[in-house]
Protein backbone atom coordinates (compact mmCIF):
# COMPACT_ATOMS: atom_id res chain seq x y z
CA UNK A 1 0.00 0.00 0.00
CA UNK A 2 1.41 3.38 -1.07
CA UNK A 3 0.74 5.99 1.62
CA UNK A 4 0.67 9.77 1.25
CA UNK A 5 -1.15 12.76 2.71
CA UNK A 6 -2.74 13.75 -0.59
CA UNK A 7 -3.31 11.33 -3.43
CA UNK A 8 -3.45 13.22 -6.71
CA UNK A 9 -5.13 11.62 -9.68
CA UNK A 10 -3.60 13.10 -12.80
CA UNK A 11 -0.03 14.30 -13.24
CA UNK A 12 -0.74 17.26 -15.51
CA UNK A 13 0.19 20.85 -14.67
CA UNK A 14 -2.49 21.20 -11.98
CA UNK A 15 -1.51 17.94 -10.26
CA UNK A 16 2.19 18.82 -10.34
CA UNK A 17 1.63 22.27 -8.90
CA UNK A 18 -0.47 20.71 -6.12
CA UNK A 19 2.69 18.88 -5.00
CA UNK A 20 4.44 22.21 -4.55
CA UNK A 21 1.61 23.93 -2.66
CA UNK A 22 1.06 20.86 -0.47
CA UNK A 23 4.79 20.67 0.20
CA UNK A 24 4.80 24.21 1.56
CA UNK A 25 2.30 22.92 4.15
CA UNK A 26 4.52 19.88 4.80
CA UNK A 27 2.03 17.52 3.15
CA UNK A 28 3.36 14.69 1.03
CA UNK A 29 1.81 13.78 -2.33
CA UNK A 30 1.63 10.77 -4.59
CA UNK A 31 0.35 10.97 -8.18
CA UNK A 32 -1.35 8.40 -10.39
CA UNK A 33 -1.51 8.88 -14.16
CA UNK A 34 -2.62 6.62 -16.99
CA UNK A 35 0.11 8.03 -19.22
CA UNK A 36 3.66 6.78 -18.82
CA UNK A 37 5.14 10.26 -18.38
CA UNK A 38 4.05 13.20 -16.21
CA UNK A 39 2.64 16.33 -17.82
CA UNK A 40 -0.82 15.24 -18.98
CA UNK A 41 -2.04 16.84 -22.19
CA UNK A 42 0.94 19.22 -22.23
CA UNK A 43 3.32 16.28 -22.57
CA UNK A 44 1.12 13.93 -24.57
CA UNK A 45 -0.76 16.11 -27.05
CA UNK A 46 1.13 19.34 -27.54
CA UNK A 47 4.61 19.39 -25.94
CA UNK A 48 6.05 21.51 -28.77
CA UNK A 49 3.23 24.08 -28.83
CA UNK A 50 3.59 27.44 -27.14
CA UNK A 51 1.30 28.67 -24.34
CA UNK A 52 0.91 32.43 -23.95
CA UNK A 53 -1.26 32.79 -20.85
CA UNK A 54 0.87 31.42 -18.04
CA UNK A 55 1.36 34.42 -15.75
CA UNK A 56 4.96 35.57 -15.88
CA UNK A 57 5.77 33.63 -19.03
CA UNK A 58 5.08 35.66 -22.20
CA UNK A 59 5.61 32.41 -24.12
CA UNK A 60 6.47 28.92 -22.96
CA UNK A 61 6.36 25.54 -24.71
CA UNK A 62 3.96 23.12 -23.03
CA UNK A 63 6.77 20.59 -22.61
CA UNK A 64 8.99 23.21 -20.96
CA UNK A 65 6.20 24.16 -18.57
CA UNK A 66 5.98 20.54 -17.47
CA UNK A 67 9.76 20.37 -16.99
CA UNK A 68 9.63 23.56 -14.90
CA UNK A 69 6.79 22.24 -12.74
CA UNK A 70 8.70 19.00 -12.14
CA UNK A 71 11.76 21.03 -11.14
CA UNK A 72 9.66 23.30 -8.91
CA UNK A 73 8.12 20.42 -6.96
CA UNK A 74 11.03 17.97 -6.88
CA UNK A 75 12.24 18.85 -3.36
CA UNK A 76 8.87 17.66 -2.09
CA UNK A 77 9.66 14.18 -3.39
CA UNK A 78 6.37 13.28 -5.06
CA UNK A 79 5.73 9.60 -5.70
CA UNK A 80 4.42 8.50 -9.09
CA UNK A 81 2.34 5.55 -10.24
CA UNK A 82 2.52 6.01 -14.03
CA UNK A 83 0.93 4.00 -16.81
CA UNK A 84 -1.90 2.97 -14.49
CA UNK A 85 -5.46 4.23 -14.36
CA UNK A 86 -7.24 4.93 -11.07
CA UNK A 87 -10.10 2.47 -11.06
CA UNK A 88 -11.87 2.34 -7.69
CA UNK A 89 -12.10 4.37 -4.51
CA UNK A 90 -13.09 2.99 -1.12
CA UNK A 91 -13.66 5.00 2.02
CA UNK A 92 -12.02 3.43 5.08
CA UNK A 93 -13.31 3.43 8.67
CA UNK A 94 -10.61 5.87 9.73
CA UNK A 95 -11.86 8.36 7.12
CA UNK A 96 -9.05 7.78 4.64
CA UNK A 97 -9.49 6.56 1.09
CA UNK A 98 -7.98 3.63 -0.75
CA UNK A 99 -7.65 4.08 -4.50
CA UNK A 100 -6.80 1.03 -6.61
CA UNK A 101 -5.49 1.17 -10.18
CA UNK A 102 -6.34 -1.08 -13.11
CA UNK A 103 -3.12 -2.97 -12.37
CA UNK A 104 -4.08 -3.49 -8.73
CA UNK A 105 -1.71 -0.95 -7.14
CA UNK A 106 -3.27 0.36 -3.92
CA UNK A 107 -2.84 3.89 -2.59
CA UNK A 108 -4.04 5.27 0.72
CA UNK A 109 -4.50 8.92 1.66
CA UNK A 110 -6.76 11.07 3.81
CA UNK A 111 -7.34 13.45 0.92
CA UNK A 112 -7.87 12.64 -2.75
CA UNK A 113 -7.40 15.41 -5.31
CA UNK A 114 -8.74 14.58 -8.74
CA UNK A 115 -6.74 16.61 -11.24
CA UNK A 116 -7.72 14.38 -14.10
CA UNK A 117 -8.07 16.93 -16.90
CA UNK A 118 -10.29 15.54 -19.60
CA UNK A 119 -9.88 12.03 -18.23
CA UNK A 120 -7.42 9.26 -18.84
CA UNK A 121 -5.97 8.87 -22.30
CA UNK A 122 -7.05 5.74 -24.09
CA UNK A 123 -6.32 4.48 -27.59
CA UNK A 124 -8.78 5.48 -30.31
CA UNK A 125 -10.28 2.29 -31.65
CA UNK A 126 -11.22 2.10 -35.32
CA UNK A 127 -14.80 1.24 -36.19
CA UNK A 128 -14.43 -2.26 -37.58
CA UNK A 129 -17.04 -4.96 -36.97
CA UNK A 130 -16.06 -7.46 -34.26
CA UNK A 131 -12.91 -5.58 -33.36
CA UNK A 132 -13.74 -6.02 -29.68
CA UNK A 133 -13.92 -9.77 -30.09
CA UNK A 134 -10.37 -9.90 -31.43
CA UNK A 135 -8.91 -7.58 -28.79
CA UNK A 136 -5.96 -9.43 -27.22
CA UNK A 137 -6.63 -12.21 -29.74
CA UNK A 138 -4.47 -10.72 -32.44
CA UNK A 139 -5.69 -7.13 -32.21
CA UNK A 140 -3.88 -4.71 -29.91
CA UNK A 141 -4.15 -0.92 -29.61
CA UNK A 142 -0.75 -0.44 -28.05
CA UNK A 143 2.49 -2.39 -28.11
CA UNK A 144 3.54 -3.38 -24.63
CA UNK A 145 5.98 -6.15 -25.42
CA UNK A 146 7.33 -6.14 -28.99
CA UNK A 147 8.82 -9.62 -28.44
CA UNK A 148 5.24 -10.93 -28.67
CA UNK A 149 5.53 -10.32 -32.40
CA UNK A 150 8.80 -12.18 -33.00
CA UNK A 151 8.56 -14.16 -36.23
CA UNK A 152 4.90 -13.25 -36.62
CA UNK A 153 3.26 -11.36 -39.45
CA UNK A 154 2.04 -7.97 -38.24
CA UNK A 155 -0.16 -5.30 -39.80
CA UNK A 156 0.09 -1.77 -38.44
CA UNK A 157 -2.56 0.83 -39.26
CA UNK A 158 -2.08 4.56 -38.83
CA UNK A 159 -0.10 7.45 -40.20
CA UNK A 160 1.54 9.12 -37.21
CA UNK A 161 4.81 8.78 -35.38
CA UNK A 162 3.88 5.70 -33.40
CA UNK A 163 2.79 3.74 -36.49
CA UNK A 164 6.00 4.73 -38.30
CA UNK A 165 8.32 4.09 -35.38
CA UNK A 166 6.82 0.69 -34.60
CA UNK A 167 6.92 -0.30 -38.27
CA UNK A 168 10.65 0.42 -38.24
CA UNK A 169 11.22 -1.40 -34.95
CA UNK A 170 9.12 -4.44 -35.79
CA UNK A 171 10.78 -4.84 -39.19
CA UNK A 172 13.67 -6.34 -37.19
CA UNK A 173 11.45 -8.54 -35.06
CA UNK A 174 8.44 -9.72 -37.01
CA UNK A 175 8.57 -12.05 -40.00
CA UNK A 176 6.52 -9.58 -42.02
CA UNK A 177 5.42 -5.98 -41.41
CA UNK A 178 2.65 -4.30 -43.37
CA UNK A 179 1.79 -0.65 -42.82
CA UNK A 180 -1.64 0.57 -43.90
CA UNK A 181 -2.64 4.21 -43.97
CA UNK A 182 -5.55 6.12 -45.43
CA UNK A 183 -3.29 8.57 -47.23
CA UNK A 184 0.00 8.48 -49.06
CA UNK A 185 1.32 11.16 -46.71
CA UNK A 186 2.49 10.37 -43.20
CA UNK A 187 2.56 12.75 -40.27
CA UNK A 188 5.73 12.00 -38.40
CA UNK A 189 9.30 13.05 -37.80
CA UNK A 190 11.10 13.36 -41.16
CA UNK A 191 13.65 10.81 -39.97
CA UNK A 192 10.97 8.16 -39.29
CA UNK A 193 9.31 8.75 -42.66
CA UNK A 194 12.65 8.32 -44.43
CA UNK A 195 13.45 5.14 -42.51
CA UNK A 196 10.12 3.60 -43.51
CA UNK A 197 10.75 4.68 -47.10
CA UNK A 198 14.14 2.90 -47.08
CA UNK A 199 12.75 -0.23 -45.49
CA UNK A 200 10.00 -0.27 -48.08
CA UNK A 201 12.55 -0.09 -50.89
CA UNK A 202 14.50 -2.93 -49.30
CA UNK A 203 11.29 -4.95 -49.21
CA UNK A 204 11.28 -5.13 -45.41
CA UNK A 205 8.03 -3.22 -44.95
CA UNK A 206 4.95 -3.59 -47.13
CA UNK A 207 3.23 -0.26 -47.54
CA UNK A 208 -0.43 -0.20 -48.54
CA UNK A 209 -1.78 3.31 -49.12
CA UNK A 210 -4.27 4.88 -49.39
CA UNK A 211 -6.20 2.07 -47.81
CA UNK A 212 -8.23 1.07 -44.81
CA UNK A 213 -8.77 -2.13 -42.84
CA UNK A 214 -12.46 -2.92 -43.15
CA UNK A 215 -12.87 -6.49 -41.96
CA UNK A 216 -11.45 -9.07 -39.57
CA UNK A 217 -11.71 -12.84 -39.63
CA UNK A 218 -10.61 -15.85 -37.65
CA UNK A 219 -12.51 -18.37 -35.55
CA UNK A 220 -10.90 -17.83 -32.17
CA UNK A 221 -7.90 -15.67 -33.04
CA UNK A 222 -7.28 -13.14 -35.81
CA UNK A 223 -6.26 -14.95 -39.00
CA UNK A 224 -6.85 -12.49 -41.80
CA UNK A 225 -8.00 -8.95 -42.53
CA UNK A 226 -9.77 -7.24 -45.39
CA UNK A 227 -8.08 -4.19 -46.85
CA UNK A 228 -10.01 -1.71 -48.94
CA UNK A 229 -8.20 0.56 -51.35
CA UNK A 230 -10.36 3.28 -52.80
CA UNK A 231 -12.20 2.19 -55.97
CA UNK A 232 -10.58 -1.25 -55.95
CA UNK A 233 -11.81 -4.68 -54.99
CA UNK A 234 -10.95 -5.50 -51.39
CA UNK A 235 -7.78 -7.50 -50.67
CA UNK A 236 -7.65 -10.32 -48.11
CA UNK A 237 -4.40 -10.52 -46.19
CA UNK A 238 -3.40 -13.28 -43.79
CA UNK A 239 -1.87 -11.94 -40.61
CA UNK A 240 -1.17 -12.92 -37.02
CA UNK A 241 -1.70 -9.47 -35.63
CA UNK A 242 -3.33 -6.12 -36.36
CA UNK A 243 -2.21 -3.07 -34.41
CA UNK A 244 -4.25 0.07 -35.12
CA UNK A 245 -2.33 3.12 -33.84
CA UNK A 246 -4.68 6.08 -34.18
CA UNK A 247 -3.54 8.13 -31.21
CA UNK A 248 -5.17 8.62 -27.86
CA UNK A 249 -8.38 10.23 -26.74
CA UNK A 250 -9.30 11.25 -23.20
CA UNK A 251 -12.18 9.53 -21.44
CA UNK A 252 -13.49 10.40 -17.98
CA UNK A 253 -13.49 6.65 -17.39
CA UNK A 254 -13.98 4.93 -14.03
CA UNK A 255 -14.03 8.23 -12.08
CA UNK A 256 -17.53 8.68 -13.49
CA UNK A 257 -18.62 5.77 -11.27
CA UNK A 258 -17.20 7.07 -8.00
CA UNK A 259 -20.49 8.59 -6.84
CA UNK A 260 -19.39 12.12 -7.65
CA UNK A 261 -21.82 14.76 -8.93
CA UNK A 262 -21.09 14.96 -12.65
CA UNK A 263 -22.33 17.65 -15.00
CA UNK A 264 -21.26 18.15 -18.62
CA UNK A 265 -18.57 15.44 -18.34
CA UNK A 266 -16.97 17.30 -15.42
CA UNK A 267 -17.10 17.00 -11.63
CA UNK A 268 -19.18 19.57 -9.77
CA UNK A 269 -17.30 21.29 -6.95
CA UNK A 270 -17.81 23.98 -4.35
CA UNK A 271 -16.13 26.99 -5.91
CA UNK A 272 -17.04 29.30 -3.03
CA UNK A 273 -14.42 27.65 -0.83
CA UNK A 274 -12.08 24.85 -1.73
CA UNK A 275 -13.18 22.87 -4.83
CA UNK A 276 -14.41 19.97 -2.72
CA UNK A 277 -16.77 17.51 -4.41
CA UNK A 278 -19.95 16.08 -2.92
CA UNK A 279 -17.74 13.49 -1.19
CA UNK A 280 -15.95 15.20 1.74
CA UNK A 281 -12.21 14.69 1.45
CA UNK A 282 -12.36 14.30 -2.33
CA UNK A 283 -11.50 17.43 -4.29
CA UNK A 284 -11.53 18.08 -8.04
CA UNK A 285 -9.22 20.72 -9.50
CA UNK A 286 -8.24 21.89 -12.96
CA UNK A 287 -10.00 21.00 -16.21
CA UNK A 288 -11.84 18.07 -14.62
CA UNK A 289 -14.11 20.22 -12.46
CA UNK A 290 -17.01 22.50 -13.20
CA UNK A 291 -18.71 25.38 -11.39
CA UNK A 292 -20.49 28.54 -12.51
CA UNK A 293 -18.07 30.56 -14.62
CA UNK A 294 -15.49 27.78 -14.87
CA UNK A 295 -12.68 28.30 -17.38
CA UNK A 296 -10.49 25.39 -18.39
CA UNK A 297 -7.18 27.18 -18.12
CA UNK A 298 -3.92 26.01 -16.59
CA UNK A 299 -3.69 29.19 -14.55
CA UNK A 300 -7.12 28.49 -13.01
CA UNK A 301 -5.96 24.99 -12.11
CA UNK A 302 -2.99 26.47 -10.22
CA UNK A 303 -5.28 28.71 -8.19
CA UNK A 304 -7.69 25.88 -7.43
CA UNK A 305 -4.83 23.62 -6.32
CA UNK A 306 -3.55 26.28 -3.93
CA UNK A 307 -6.89 26.83 -2.19
CA UNK A 308 -7.58 23.10 -2.08
CA UNK A 309 -4.35 22.45 -0.17
CA UNK A 310 -5.50 24.71 2.68
CA UNK A 311 -8.63 22.61 3.18
CA UNK A 312 -6.64 19.41 2.77
CA UNK A 313 -4.40 20.56 5.63
CA UNK A 314 -7.40 21.00 7.92
CA UNK A 315 -8.64 17.50 7.11
CA UNK A 316 -5.23 15.91 7.64
CA UNK A 317 -4.36 17.94 10.77
CA UNK A 318 -7.73 18.83 12.32
CA UNK A 319 -6.18 20.09 15.54
CA UNK A 320 -3.46 22.22 14.04
CA UNK A 321 -3.72 25.70 12.67
CA UNK A 322 -2.24 26.19 9.24
CA UNK A 323 -0.23 29.34 8.86
CA UNK A 324 -0.14 31.03 5.54
CA UNK A 325 3.37 32.02 4.51
CA UNK A 326 5.10 33.80 1.67
CA UNK A 327 7.93 31.80 0.09
CA UNK A 328 10.01 34.95 -0.27
CA UNK A 329 9.88 35.43 3.51
CA UNK A 330 10.04 31.84 4.74
CA UNK A 331 11.97 30.15 1.96
CA UNK A 332 11.19 26.61 0.84
CA UNK A 333 12.24 23.64 2.96
CA UNK A 334 12.26 20.45 0.91
CA UNK A 335 11.59 16.98 2.28
CA UNK A 336 14.97 16.07 0.80
CA UNK A 337 16.71 18.39 3.24
CA UNK A 338 17.31 21.21 0.77
CA UNK A 339 16.45 24.77 1.60
CA UNK A 340 15.79 27.63 -0.79
CA UNK A 341 15.77 31.12 0.63
CA UNK A 342 16.23 34.71 -0.33
CA UNK A 343 19.87 35.80 0.03
CA UNK A 344 20.46 37.74 3.24
CA UNK A 345 21.21 41.38 2.71
CA UNK A 346 24.72 42.39 3.60
CA UNK A 347 25.13 44.84 6.46
CA UNK A 348 28.41 46.65 6.15
CA UNK A 349 29.37 50.14 6.96
CA UNK A 350 30.95 52.42 4.39
CA UNK A 351 34.05 54.19 5.63
Amino acid sequence: MIQSDILIIGAGPTGLFTVFEAGLLKLRCHLIDALVQPGGQCAEIYPKKPIYDIPGFPEILAGDLVNNLMEQCKQFEPGFTLGERAETIEKQQDGSFVVTTDKGTKHQAKVVAIAGGLGSFEPRKPLIDNIEFYENKGVAFAIKDPEMYRNKSVVLAGGGDSALDWAVYLSNVASKVTLIHRRNEFRGALDSVEKVQNLKQQGLIDLITPAEVTGLEGSSHLEAITIQKEDETPIRLQTDALIPLFGLTPKLGPIANWGLDIEKNAIKVDNTLDYQTNIPGVFAIGDVNTYPGKLKLILCGFHEATLMCQSAYKIIHPNRKSIFKYTTVSGVDGFDGTRKEAPKSIIKSID
Partner: protein, 109 residues
Amino acid sequence: MLDITLHITDRDGMTHEVQAPTDMVMNVMEVVKGFELAPEGTIGICGGMAMCASCQCYIESDHILPQQSDDELAMLSEAFFVKSNSRLGCQIQITEELDGLRLTLAPEE
Protein backbone atom coordinates in the same frame (compact mmCIF):
# COMPACT_ATOMS: atom_id res chain seq x y z
CA MET B 1 -19.83 44.31 -35.62
CA LEU B 2 -21.47 41.90 -38.01
CA ASP B 3 -23.14 38.63 -37.18
CA ILE B 4 -23.55 35.86 -39.71
CA THR B 5 -26.10 33.07 -39.72
CA LEU B 6 -25.08 29.43 -39.54
CA HIS B 7 -27.35 26.41 -39.91
CA ILE B 8 -25.93 23.68 -37.71
CA THR B 9 -27.45 20.22 -37.48
CA ASP B 10 -26.54 18.59 -34.17
CA ARG B 11 -25.77 14.92 -33.53
CA ASP B 12 -29.45 14.22 -32.83
CA GLY B 13 -30.45 15.52 -36.26
CA MET B 14 -31.92 18.82 -35.01
CA THR B 15 -31.03 21.87 -37.10
CA HIS B 16 -30.29 25.13 -35.29
CA GLU B 17 -30.05 28.57 -36.83
CA VAL B 18 -27.46 30.53 -34.89
CA GLN B 19 -25.90 33.98 -35.14
CA ALA B 20 -22.13 34.06 -34.89
CA PRO B 21 -20.00 37.21 -34.59
CA THR B 22 -17.28 37.80 -37.17
CA ASP B 23 -15.17 40.04 -34.96
CA MET B 24 -14.41 37.65 -32.10
CA VAL B 25 -11.78 35.47 -33.82
CA MET B 26 -14.12 32.51 -33.39
CA ASN B 27 -14.20 29.27 -35.28
CA VAL B 28 -17.05 26.89 -36.01
CA MET B 29 -16.11 24.55 -33.15
CA GLU B 30 -16.26 27.44 -30.68
CA VAL B 31 -19.66 28.51 -32.01
CA VAL B 32 -21.01 24.97 -31.50
CA LYS B 33 -19.57 24.95 -27.97
CA GLY B 34 -20.87 28.44 -27.24
CA PHE B 35 -24.42 27.54 -28.21
CA GLU B 36 -24.08 24.17 -26.44
CA LEU B 37 -25.11 22.25 -29.55
CA ALA B 38 -22.95 19.33 -28.40
CA PRO B 39 -22.32 18.39 -24.76
CA GLU B 40 -19.21 19.79 -23.10
CA GLY B 41 -16.43 17.24 -23.30
CA THR B 42 -17.60 15.81 -26.63
CA ILE B 43 -16.40 18.63 -28.87
CA GLY B 44 -13.21 20.66 -29.06
CA ILE B 45 -11.38 18.24 -26.81
CA CYS B 46 -7.89 19.29 -27.94
CA GLY B 47 -8.90 22.94 -27.65
CA GLY B 48 -8.78 23.66 -31.37
CA MET B 49 -5.31 22.52 -32.42
CA ALA B 50 -6.50 20.07 -35.11
CA MET B 51 -5.20 17.33 -32.86
CA CYS B 52 -8.45 15.47 -32.29
CA ALA B 53 -11.43 15.00 -34.57
CA SER B 54 -14.15 15.77 -32.03
CA CYS B 55 -15.29 18.86 -34.00
CA GLN B 56 -15.51 17.07 -37.35
CA CYS B 57 -18.45 18.30 -39.40
CA TYR B 58 -19.88 17.82 -42.87
CA ILE B 59 -20.18 20.98 -44.95
CA GLU B 60 -23.49 21.00 -46.82
CA SER B 61 -23.51 24.34 -48.61
CA ASP B 62 -21.19 25.44 -51.42
CA HIS B 63 -19.38 28.20 -49.55
CA ILE B 64 -15.72 28.65 -50.33
CA LEU B 65 -13.89 27.62 -47.19
CA PRO B 66 -10.32 28.29 -46.07
CA GLN B 67 -7.92 25.67 -47.43
CA GLN B 68 -7.18 22.66 -45.30
CA SER B 69 -3.84 22.82 -43.54
CA ASP B 70 -1.51 19.81 -43.46
CA ASP B 71 -2.45 19.30 -39.82
CA GLU B 72 -6.15 19.19 -40.60
CA LEU B 73 -5.65 16.80 -43.54
CA ALA B 74 -3.51 14.53 -41.40
CA MET B 75 -6.03 14.50 -38.57
CA LEU B 76 -8.94 13.79 -40.88
CA SER B 77 -6.97 10.95 -42.42
CA GLU B 78 -7.04 9.23 -39.03
CA ALA B 79 -10.56 10.25 -38.01
CA PHE B 80 -13.60 8.01 -38.24
CA PHE B 81 -16.86 8.66 -40.17
CA VAL B 82 -14.92 10.79 -42.66
CA LYS B 83 -16.70 11.85 -45.86
CA SER B 84 -15.54 13.91 -48.82
CA ASN B 85 -17.13 17.02 -47.26
CA SER B 86 -15.59 16.51 -43.82
CA ARG B 87 -13.83 19.41 -42.14
CA LEU B 88 -12.61 20.16 -38.65
CA GLY B 89 -14.80 22.92 -37.24
CA CYS B 90 -11.89 24.39 -35.29
CA GLN B 91 -10.08 25.16 -38.54
CA ILE B 92 -12.90 27.22 -40.04
CA GLN B 93 -12.84 30.83 -38.86
CA ILE B 94 -16.09 32.76 -38.78
CA THR B 95 -15.91 35.38 -41.55
CA GLU B 96 -18.53 37.37 -43.45
CA GLU B 97 -18.09 35.10 -46.49
CA LEU B 98 -19.50 32.20 -44.50
CA ASP B 99 -22.94 33.77 -43.98
CA GLY B 100 -25.57 31.07 -44.51
CA LEU B 101 -23.15 28.14 -44.07
CA ARG B 102 -24.88 24.79 -43.51
CA LEU B 103 -23.18 21.97 -41.70
CA THR B 104 -23.87 18.80 -39.75
CA LEU B 105 -21.81 17.59 -36.80
CA ALA B 106 -20.17 14.20 -37.37
CA PRO B 107 -21.04 11.49 -34.83
CA GLU B 108 -19.05 11.28 -31.62
CA GLU B 109 -16.20 8.77 -31.88
